[in-house]
């Protein structure tokens, strides 16, 4: 192609030059025209020759098929990292946003929701509001800080126009010996589902036992040191400590930390189709004046408060299966956790002029098991069973005969349970539409039937999820 273009340019250039000169020297017009014609015919013959040559070459090429040029003929372009092409934005963190919303049809008024037999664990317990509700939108920014740290901020923006920091942590990338340190606010690594962000849950809501024991998900401001064993069997050990300000702990008035957690996880594959992880975790917290609303024997509102130590054991296990590890068609996930909490201390009943205080000891437990089956690409259904046991609760004020047990309405023995079934459709990796139906018997003697429709949309950076 090149010679042609050059010839055309030359020809055009000559013409323009001649045209520019022409008016000035009209007398030489005849000469020039003759020269131009000569040039024209000269170039034309050259052009014709070239065209013939090209046609011949083309014919040769067509006759003798050649492999196409290799994909790489030029040095590779510099690999773009993370999608930023360059300039001032090249180092922007990856941004992802999850939009969630739902419609809930609840038989019983959610304002009356209580998990019977357990001290209320905060506002986030329960099925949420009736009707349409803009649930939680999650905004995540993350990037490597430098060769040594990775940083992540996840903010939760809720329908009532509040924004809260769900996680904000840095994590080391370059400690030796399989060690890593995470610091900031983060979901504790205890159990299995605790670290899973709400958009990745397999049901609209958290297992009942997590709601009862931690008020949903346990986060803390603190640090976590994790060690991964140098074995082909996955073994991870971690220790955490921090402010312990979230239920079941309270932020302490003094310096120092509030409690800690220890956890161990083991995991491996079974053949090429299944993999599992199992773990055991221990959490210790101190609570100072952890108050909650209750009603006394006459139905009058009272405020109780617990001060003491709270320890929780968790055993968790998950098994994932997909034929040859290819989850495009079918896959199955089975998970279950058992939690047991022991609390020792004092329980105070706010009365005037002096609060009444007595010993308190409780051992309470709960568990859930759930299975999710993807029966067709993009379609899944799941079932979950939740069960809680309010266990042995010894209240000093009651044992001493100072107050009847009915003065502690929230602590009356109970065995809450819930059955949930869900069905979801995932038209793409970034969209999930879910229908969930639950028979919720968390309250004493009320069966709440809950129908929920939920949507989850992910935009921005492609997410990566833990096992």
């Amino acid at each position: 192609m090149f010679p042609f273009r050059r010839l055309h340019a030359l020809r055009a250039g000559t013409v323009i030059l001649l045209l520019a000169v022409a008016p000035a020297r009209a007398s030489e017009l005849g000469d020039l025209r003759a020269q131009l014609d000569a040039l024209k015919s000269d170039y034309q013959s050259k052009l014709d020759a070239l065209e013939t040559r090209v046609a011949q070459l083309e014919a040769q090429v067509a006759a003798q098929p050649q492999p196409q040029p290799p994909v790489v003929e030029q040095p590779p372009p510099p690999a773009p990292s993370g999608g930023g092409a360059g300039g001032a934005n090249a180092f922007n963190p990856s941004i992802s946003v999850i939009l969630g919303g739902r419609y809930a049809q609840l038989d019983a008024d959610p304002a009356t929701y209580r998990i019977a037999g357990f001290m209320p664990a905060g506002d986030e317990v329960g099925p949420g509001r009736r009707g349409f509700d803009l649930g939680e939108s999650e905004l995540t920014l993350s990037a490597n800080v430098d060769p040594w740290f990775y940083a992540n901020l996840t903010a939760s923006i809720t329908g009532d126009n509040t924004i809260s920091v769900e996680e904000a942590f840095v994590k080391t990338l370059a400690l030796p010996s399989g060690l890593s340190l995470k610091a900031g606010r983060f979901f504790s690594g205890i159990g299995y589902v605790n670290e899973v962000h709400s958009h990745a849950w397999d049901f609209v809501d958290q297992p009942l036992v997590y709601q009862a024991m931690f008020g949903g998900q346990l986060a803390q401001d603190g640090a976590q040191l994790k060690w991964l064993a140098p074995t082909d069997l996955f073994i991870e050990l971690a220790a955490e400590t921090g402010d312990g300000g979230q239920y079941p702990g309270t932020r302490l008035a003094g310096n120092g930390v509030n409690g800690g957690a220890l956890l161990a996880h083991v995991g491996n594959d079974i053949g090429d189709s299944a993999s599992w992880r199992a773990g055991i975790s221990w959490l210790s917290r101190r609570a100072e004046d952890r108050s909650f609303d209750d009603v006394d024997a006459n139905g009058a509102p009272v405020v109780d408060a617990f001060t003491g130590r709270s320890r929780t054991w968790i055993a968790d296990a998950i098994l994932k299966w997909a034929p040859h590890g290819n989850g495009n068609l079918r896959s199955f996930k089975l998970q279950g956790e058992y939690l047991q909490r022991t609390e020792d201390g004092q329980l105070a009943l706010a009365t005037t002029p002096q609060p009444l205080t007595g010993d308190y000891h409780a051992r309470q437990s709960g568990w859930y098991v759930q299975g999710v089956y993807q029966f067709l690409p993009r379609w899944r259904f799941g079932a979950r069973y939740d069960s809680l046991d309010s266990g042995n609760v010894a209240i000093g004020l009651v044992q001493q005969g100072l107050l009847p047990l009915t003065d502690f309405g929230a602590l009356a023995p109970a065995s809450p349970s819930r059955v949930s079934a869900m069905f979801d459709w995932n038209p793409s990796e970034f969209t999930r539409l879910r229908l969930q139906y639950a028979w919720d018997e968390a309250r004493a003697s009320v069966r709440d039937q809950q129908l929920m429709l939920q949507y989850l949309y992910a935009i921005g950076a492609h997410g990566a999820h833990k096992f």
């Binding site: 492999p67 890593s180 994790k226 220790a239 590890g325 793409s428 990796e429």
Partner: protein, 303 residues
């Protein structure tokens, strides 16, 4: 509680102090079977290679399994395809590994596609286009000439990560290149009848094979990458392909057969199962046999 924490700390510290088993070979975690096979070709008995996935898995969708985190923890080198093929799980493995050697930017992290000029680099990306990859189509290994380019870079990288055996890797690299060059010539000759043959694919993961051998992709069963076909799209496809029938429909070992069989029945065209990667068919047991088998199956279908 304090006592428990002290005890646990003591246990962790004593475990840390345990002598690790002597390193017999360079430990490599490869994300895909083809790059695992190439690492074996180049590393011989000096490398211990673990493939994170098999040819029966869709590498886009893999879990960051505990077994993989454990392998990443111990790896001296991660060999990835790159170009965001593994974006849903590899970043997690790297972060969870507690292994500084394999973090991107270090010699212990190698991306095959970073050495290649990728096809189908979109000028703009938007998820309405389906699962598009901003850096280009990442399924680059099915152009055998790309394998040679990656081999050069990988042999160099092995020598950097394990300098004690640098000469060994370079020698094996040279040997591999000469054998590969011969093989490529042979494959190109065998595949000459495939030039211009119209085919239908499922996902655009045969783009490099088509580019190399001159197969002409006339349609894809996925209307957009990663987007399943609707029934109206399939009906359109049947009409279109009946008017100008392709020679065959290609299916990878990890693809579901339903959609292709459905289409094949309606347009009366054979389905050709391709190994896609090493281990995808019994015959495709190494990198050379992967291409032998692929070309045999393709030429077999044109006869």
């Amino acid at each position: 509680m304090n006592r428990t924490i002290y005890a646990a700390t003591a246990i962790i510290l004593s475990l840390l102090a345990l002598p690790l088993p002597a390193q017999a070979a360079l430990r490599v975690l490869a994300t895909t079977p083809e790059w695992a096979a190439l690492t074996r070709e180049l590393g011989g008995d000096k490398v211990d290679v673990y493939a994170a996935t098999s040819a029966f898995q869709d590498v886009h969708r893999v879990d960051a399994k505990p077994s993989l985190v454990a392998r990443a923890r111990n790896a001296d080198l991660v060999v990835a395809a790159g170009a965001e093929l593994e974006i849903g799980w590899l970043p997690i493995l790297l972060r969870e590994s507690g292994n500084a050697r394999i973090q991107p930017g270090n010699p212990g992290y190698f991306e095959a596609d970073a050495n290649l000029r990728l096809l189908e680099v979109p000028s703009a990306v938007d998820r309405s286009m389906g699962d598009v990859h901003p850096q280009g189509n990442p399924h680059a290994h099915l152009d055998a000439r790309n394998v040679a380019i990656v081999a050069t870079a990988l042999a160099t990288r092995l020598a950097v990560v394990d300098p004690a055996n640098a000469a060994y890797y370079q020698a094996r690299g040279t040997d591999f290149q000469s054998r590969w060059k011969l093989a490529v010539t042979r494959w190109e000759a065998q595949a000459a009848p495939l030039r211009g043959v119209p085919i239908v694919v499922i996902h655009r993961d045969q783009a490099y094979l088509c580019h190399w051998l001159g197969l002409v992709e006339v349609a894809a069963i996925e209307p957009k990458p990663g987007v399943p076909p609707s029934s109206s799209y399939l009906a359109e496809l049947v009409t279109k392909l009946n008017a100008a029938p392709p020679k065959m429909i290609l299916r990878n070992a990890y693809n579901d057969s339903k959609a292709v069989d459905w289409l094949a029945e309606r347009i009366h065209v054979p389905v050709v199962l391709l190994p896609y990667s090493v281990g995808g068919t019994p015959a495709a047991s190494d990198l050379f046999k992967l291409f032998d088998d692929t070309i045999n199956r393709l030429t077999g279908a044109t006869k």
